[in-house]
Amino acid sequence: MTDRSTPTPEEIAEGTSPPDPLGVSYREREESITLSPLGQQIAEQREANRAERGNVSQADTALAPETELLTMNIGPHHPATHGVLRLLTTLEGEVVKETKPLIGYVHTGIEKNCEDKSYWKVIPLIERMDYVSYYFNALAYCMAVEKLLDEEVPERAQYLRVIHLELCRIHSHMVWLGTSALDLGAISMFWYCFRERDNVLDLFEMSSGQRMHTRFFQIGGVFEDIPTGFADKLRDFVQQMPGRIDQFADLLDSNEIFLQRMKGIGAVSEERLLELGVTGPLLRATGNPWDLRKAAPYSSYDDFDFKVPVGTVGDNYDRYKVRLMELYESCKIIEQALDGLPEGPWITDNRKVALPPRHELATSMEALIHHFKLVTEGIRVPAGEVYLPIESPRGELGCFVRSDGSSKPARLHMREPSFVNLQALSDMAKDTYLADLIATLAMLDPILGGIDR
């Protein structure tokens, strides 16, 4: 195995190692992080001064205070960055001129690891990418594999999926609202939001036995039918939730400090956001009703009647409001799905894809063989490539799977909405105060596990 890019020790010692493909050393690249055009101008001016006088003097370094830029490092350990995000900000006084996100501090190599697992063992790994919306990750992957297999999912499974997806959306938005409000100093919101989050997690625990990373979605359906009592508990929850959301809105919307830090801050035009590939609530806050649940319905989302909340100007307040409104819509969808929950199997009966039910193992030789084949070898998926996008709480979550016909994926790539949306941070935070950067970051809702994978 000759990997061109890994030089041997001798080569390094002689200095003849094949150079970095870019032809620049690491040190140079680290130093070459250009921060802002303004900084460059000053540097150029400094150079010119130097060339004129031929030596370095005090005047070079002591520029007029109003043009002096300060580069400040935030993170990777900072309580308001929602994880291990590192930001290099250039400040002019207290005004942010440029922000450069440096990421990769929780890079987990999940995509590579998945290539080493058989198809259904990938699901637990995939769930750990974007760790507050794990059901969405699992769904994108399962649907992509189902597409490769050309497998139909039973109606009941689709409804159960929708119920859990929307619960997970509520969970994700609760974590977002609680931590964002905490960043902005509204500490009581944290306790209220985490109370609701725990209610959602109780439901997850009831249906799957785990609080987070449930591995409830399977290729071809869901793992188990919902237990008795789940529906009642869920109904209680969705009936009390809208009242709770009202409370949250009351608490925040009458908080002058919160409003001051939200309204009119960080607005970016719709065109620019589209250029930057931003989707989800951030895009909807500018008035573009792009939502894959409506635009290209999957998993029987077209059976439900719900609205897509949009904003008007696309500032932080709109982003907050859009997400809050989405919570109401999620409750509505869950209620409808619960009312219309069809009877029937919750997983496909294709024995090449799904395990046979337990009781069949004792009576049917064939079931035993299928069980053995599936457990030891896994699912064999026809060769091909698919890209499957769904709407996660943060935007378009796409899963690209390439199969080479074996029982392990040959390549798996997630298009993580947080990863793409993060590029817009620089535009959003430009010319706002440093304190507003924190608010903007909170409203961007990045999940570092999703960004770094």
């Binding site: 990769g104 589209l274 250029e275 091909g384 378009e396 796409g398 690209f400 790539h413 298009r415 793409v420």
Partner: protein, 182 residues
């Protein structure tokens, strides 16, 4: 301009051929290497040198209008001949159509033009592909590693790169262990 709503997954197989023909006509006679329509998804493979022109045509031509770059991913087709691949998932938001443009690159000299000028969203994603596969995007404003440490060597998601990690110690491989538990 009003587009009639379409039924079913779009573009369909004939639609893909129309797009390929339009590319041959407007960009160059031999830009399209292959078209494939698989599981209701359209994919057109083009020559690396023509990539930018193809993307530009698909984005800016009135009849195409694929103005949104949803995702860029790198692929390593290990046993096959041009080993590396870069996929661009384009989306027409008005008609909700998706098309995948792909280029295949030789492992020895994986150069392709950067699409950042056309689609600023490609910035991070191309850096990620450079980081993991070593594909060099010419003209990218700031091509450096993004997820791995800056001084990391090798391109970890190529298929001939070892997965790494440590074996889990079970009873059967206990004798080979480091022995610290004694």
């Amino acid at each position: 301009m009003e587009d009639p709503p379409r039924e079913g997954p779009v573009p369909d197989a004939p639609g893909l051929e129309l797009i390929a023909n339009a590319l041959r006509e407007h960009v160059g006679a031999d830009v399209v290497v292959e078209t494939s329509y698989y599981r209701e998804q359209a994919c057109v493979e083009v020559t690396p040198s023509a990539l930018l022109a193809v993307l530009k045509f698909l984005k800016e031509d009135q009849t195409q209008g694929y103005g949104f770059l949803a995702s860029v991913h790198g692929v390593d087709y290990l046993p096959e001949a041009p080993r590396l691949g870069v996929h661009y998932e384009l989306l027409n938001m008005r008609r909700v159509e998706r098309i995948r443009v792909k280029v295949r690159l030789e492992i020895d000299d994986p150069h392709v033009a950067s699409a950042v000028e056309l689609f600023p969203t490609a910035d991070f994603q191309e850096r990620e592909i450079y980081d993991f596969f070593g594909v060099i995007f010419d003209g990218h404003p700031d091509l450096r590693r993004i997820l791995m440490p800056e001084d990391y060597e090798g391109f970890p998601q190529r298929r001939d790169f070892a997965l790494g990690g440590e074996p889990v110690m079970f009873t059967h491989n206990e004798p080979e262990g480091p022995g610290w538990y004694e």
